[in-house]
Amino acid sequence: MDVAADTTEKTFIQIAEIWVPEGDRLVHGGGDYGGLGAFEATSRRESFAQGEGLPGKAWAEARPVVLKGFDGSYFKRTEAAAEAGLTAAVAIPVFAGAVLKAVLVVLCGDDDARTGAIEIWSETDGLMMLDDGYYGAAKHFEWVSQHTHFPVGQGLPGGVWAARTPILMRDLGSGYRFIRADSAAKAGLTTGLGLPIPLPSGRSCVLTLLSAKGTPIARRFELWDARASRVGKDGGAVLADGICAREGPLWDEDNPRRVTAWQGLIGRVLGSGLPVAESAAPGLPGGYGAMVALPLHQGGELAHIVAWYV
């Protein structure tokens, strides 16, 4: 298990924010701004029409969007972002069937020391191909990824595509020798989280978050299974997998943790079907200051929740 325990290190993602539809606009629905107060204040005043700014673009195009470099782009908060040192963002729309529930936006700073990967893979001609991705300083890994494809069932993108369920991989570089492994190892990437992103078009899409030791995406990951076919008609969710730099393995085959709707932060996602991005909230596990929880729907129903903590 290679989840960094040092909580004083920089993290790869600096901001996570939620935008929710209200009428014909997306309005602010909370976020973790990692102490970047000015950018937070600007954001809280903002809203987006369909097609407007990054969240509006993800809504209009009904797919995840990666934006590297804000200058001269459609990004609306360029000035505030520049002041906060933010240079790249990924917007992930959360759909339940054809209905947009929210847009999760994560923002990163282009810093030579920050390594990680946020990738969007989608199916083209029977293979998972890279749509786009943000890699920070992992330039070689970025190049390798752009020239890699995954058949169904193979590697993290192909595995998530085939299993239709989130997958959390350990030791990307050493234990798990997928095609990009050498490069991943050199970039220090260890933990890989793959999520099936449902799109109204029906096109298969996989989001991967690859976390490096030095600048981790998170120090704790949780995968919750909320499918009625797993938890029954009473609802709730069971912890299917998870690792934590402090507590070690979080999974328990015989006696998995369980939450019900509105019970804690995961319960809030279960009850509302909306993502959560919170800092300093009650209910965070010991030693963690912030968390993001992203719901994944299948057939219009909430199926999985993926949460990461920093």
Binding site: M1, D2, P151, V152, G153, Q154, G155, G158, G159, A162, A163, R164, T165, I167, L168, M169, R170, D171, L172, G175, Y176, R177, F178, I179, A228, S229, R230, V231, G232, K233, D234, D241, I243, G248, P249, W251, E253, G299
Partner: protein, 809 residues
């Protein structure tokens, strides 16, 4: 403090120590031997370690700190050489250790198929961390290939993990469906589909003959001659208890180390636990009973009362995204009844098996939420008669609805072809409905869907219902039988649209309400499958009526009739002599039939192979007088002999019969060829009747002379004999591909219209396609069943002890 020595640091013995230290940490001074150079880890979690979804560190159960805290003397990486029970010492490679009590936890080893090449480097089992590491190494090379022998729990977990690692994986399984000990055929079908969706190749009924390689595994050769390339071969066909040490120590050993209900061996100071144990004839491979044993043994070691008992087991597969659950006994039986629930759209199958108002087995795939509840009902033997009607919906049932009959159509992809005649896909039809075509006539006008043969009408109506919801009221259609909600035509269309190539696939994907269909739907589905997928589907004799199964017509006294084929009604002295000999030898009555054949009546079942063999020896084959297939081609003597004959009707009849015989059709097919309009062969009341005229051949179809009497309708006129044969073959194939099972051609033509039939058969391109598909089918089915049965199934005709029972069959 007493001395306890434990041989083997596995999951069972580890659990014994946990219970022991928890109850009385000072009771024993413990020495733990382990041949592996490490302590206890959660062996059943090795597959996620192999896939990369867990790290080894996460599955360690007892680390050095734990052993240190409990003062366990660890002798890891050291094999035990012998046990001297007389001196009460365990002899390790590095020296002896005395004991007061001794526990065998030696576990099991993988069973390796002793085929040539099984000992080549690269052939591994899947038992421990070393095996896991070997597989990880093998997967490091891009494009590497793995062959997994064994489609049980362990083999499939290994296969899925290796696939995730990037290997090309083939699973070989000896039996007909995967995990046959835990799953029935329907669940096995879904599991196979799930694995194939992951890019894994699954081969069932695959028997390994040999493993080949120069110094290292390179190929796996199957009994049928198939050769598979392999960089690694994983053997996961079963386990064998490790009992050699116990045997050498003189303990009672059967299939494994025999213990009583307190886990005591034949020596009162020696105990055994885990997979190396045999209790009341049972062996153990799953973890739940091992933990039960551990609890019992810990109490026994502390002189407390506890008894081990064998319980029902449940199974889950550790492949991410693969939800299956199996518990209890799900074999079919006369006193048992099934409750089946299928939801094709969600890929859900649930089956409960009840006996005497109690749940005895449960198999579920795709929805396992209620698995544990069902499992507890099985274990407790709860009387479920009061909740029988709602049992399948689980504990939280609150007036739940049955599966939506529209779900199969709703689940079809947009590019699934609904109307085969006009090549109209689901997406086109749905778009037209959304564009305002709200009923069948307007849809037909707009898309041409169901505008030709009409067999897809039901499906098009379902699409209307799916798209328009309550706004569309479909007319009621007659389903195939009580097992499903679909008509014959819908089943046929969906078998093609969804590419269903096996009976389990049909049952699941079309939402059958019974486990394996019934006597009504099975013969129909069997025919539809063999007609549509001649190369992929194998005919199932168990889905045939008794006459077709026995290749002879059963008579009212229980004897059979035997009728050899006489091509075009022609015979000769040799054939007649053989028939006469056979009639005499087997005491047959002889009857000349209306179809110009000779029928031998009154043959006993046990004589069938012999009489067939005799007739085969004279060059004759089965006349298929019993089949839903080509029966006879009746001819007149034609231009060779008759003053009025215009063409060689006998020759055409012979050539047609030789082309068409052996093919299965929805119902029987009779042909007639008359040499002139005087029609001596009575061709105009046959399913297909040809009347020769000076200008060529008049081909009529859809005649009948049975319960209904009907004259043929003109399909076409052909100038040449070759053209006439082409038209007949194309018509037969069109009938095979489109008619409802047990509809004679005249009934089918009445439904689809002769115009449509003509349009198909007369279009040169369509005709060529029909003929090509017929020939492919004939390459599989045109063979003499008599010769086959004489060779391979003679025993099935042997007399039963009670002959009256046989007669009643």
């Amino acid at each position: 403090m007493q001395k306890l020595v434990v041989i083997g640091a596995g999951m069972a013995s580890g659990r014994v120590l946990e219970h022991l230290f928890e109850a009385d940490p000072d009771a024993y001074e413990v020495t733990l031997f382990n041949a592996e150079p490490r302590g206890n880890y959660n062996r059943i979690m090795l597959s996620p370690v192999l896939s990369g979804e867990k790290s080894y560190g996460e599955i360690v159960t007892h680390d050095d700190t734990w052993y240190g805290r409990n003062d366990v003397t660890c002798r890891f990486g050291e094999k035990v050489v012998a046990v001297d029970r007389a001196r009460k010492v365990v002899i390790g490679e590095n020296g002896e250790v005395p004991y007061d009590k001794l526990v065998f936890g030696t576990g099991s080893s993988a069973f390796i198929i002793p085929c040539p090449g099984h000992d080549l480097p690269g052939v591994v089992a899947f038992r421990d961390l070393e095996d896991t590491s070997a597989m990880t190494e093998a997967s490091a090379r891009p494009g590497a290939k793995a062959v997994v022998i064994g489609g049980g729990l362990l083999g499939l977990e290994a296969a899925a993990a290796l696939r995730l690692r990037g290997m090309e994986v083939t699973v070989l399984h000896l039996m007909g469906h995967l995990m046959e000990r835990q799953l029935d055929e329907a669940a096995g079908y879904l599991l196979r589909k799930d694995l194939e969706r992951r890019g894994i190749t699954v081969m069932t009924q695959a028997s390994t003959k040999e493993i080949r390689g120069q110094g290292r595994v390179e190929q796996v050769v199957l009994e049928d001659g198939t050769v598979l390339e392999a960089d690694i071969v994983v053997m996961a066909v079963g386990i064998r208890p490790q009992v050699q040490l116990a045997k050498e120590a003189g303990l009672a050993v059967g299939r494994a180390i025999q213990v009583d209900a307190q886990m005591r061996t034949s020596d009162p100071d020696v105990f055994a636990v885990g997979e190396c144990v045999e209790f009341e004839g049972h062996l153990f491979g799953l973890v739940a009973p091992l933990y039960d044993q551990a609890k019992v043994l810990a109490k026994t070691l502390l002189d407390e009362e506890e008894t081990f008992a064998v319980k029902e087991l449940s199974t889950k597969l550790k492949v991410t995204g693969c939800d299956l659950f199996s518990a209890g006994d799900f074999a079919e039986g006369d006193s048992r009844e099934d409750i089946v629930f299928r939801d094709p759209a969600r890929g859900v199958y649930k089956r409960l098996v009840l006996e005497d108002d109690r749940l005895v087995g449960a198999v579920m795939y795709g929805d396992t939420a209620d698995g544990n509840w069902f499992f507890s009902l099985i274990k407790d033997g709860t009387d479920v008669s009061g909740m029988r009607d709602t049992l399948i919906f689980g504990p939280a049932y609150q007036g739940g609805a049955s599966a939506d009959p529209l779900s199969a159509v709703a689940a079809l992809p947009d590019d699934a072809e609904i109307c085969g005649c006009n090549g109209v896909c689901k997406g086109t039809i749905v778009a037209a409905i959304e564009g305002g075509a709200g009923d069948l006539p307007s849809l037909r006008a707009k898309t041409k869907a169901s505008a030709s043969c009409g067999t897809c009408t039901g499906l098009v109506e379902q699409l209307l219902a799916v798209t328009l919801g309550d706004g569309y009221a479909a007319p009621a259609a007659q389903p195939v039988c009580g097992c499903c909600d679909l008509t014959h035509e819908e089943v046929r269309r969906l078998i093609r649209a969804k590419e269903l190539k096996s009976q389990p696939a049909v049952w699941q994907e079309l939402g059958w309400k019974t486990v394996n269909g019934c006597h009504v739907c099975r013969p129909a589905v069997n025919f539809y499958l063999l007609a549509d997928w001649p190369l992929e589907y194998r005919d199932d004799p168990q889905s045939r009526f008794v006459n077709e199964r026995n290749h002879a017509n059963i008579q009212k006294d229980g004897t059979y009739s035997v009728m050899p084929r006489m091509w075009g009604g022609m015979t000769d002295a040799n054939e007649l002599r053989a028939i006469a000999d056979a009639a005499e030898k087997y005491g047959a009555a002889v009857k000349v039939t209306g179809g110009q054949r000779i029928d031998l009546l009154g043959i006993r079942k046990e004589d069938l192979p012999a009489i067939w063999s005799d007739l085969n020896d004279a060059g004759m084959v089965s006349g298929h007088a019993y089949s839903k297939g080509l029966r006879t081609v009746k001819t007149c003597v034609g231009s060779d002999w008759c003053r009025f004959g215009t063409q060689d009707s006998t020759g055409l009849g012979i050539r047609l019969e030789k082309r068409l015989w052996g093919s299965w059709t929805p119902h029987k097919v009779k042909l007639g060829v008359s040499g002139c309009p005087r029609n001596c062969a009575e061709a105009t009341c046959k399913d297909i009747g040809i009347v020769c005229v000076d200008s060529g051949y008049q081909i009529g179809v859809g005649g009948a002379a049975g319960m209904d009497v009907k004259e043929v309708e003109r399909l076409a006129e052909a100038a040449t004999e070759a053209e006439a044969i082409d038209l007949v073959v194309a018509f037969v194939q069109l009938y095979r591909e489109n008619a409802k099972y047990l509809d004679r051609p005249y009934r089918w033509i009445a439904k689809v219209g002769l115009d449509w039939v003509k349009a198909q058969v007369l279009d040169p391109e369509v005709r060529a396609g029909l003929i090509a598909r017929f020939d492919i089918s004939q390459s599989v089915y045109q063979h003499d069943p008599w010769a086959d049965h004489v060779q391979t199934r003679r025993a099935a005709y042997a007399p039963l002890a009670d002959l009256s029972l046989e007669a009643a069959e």
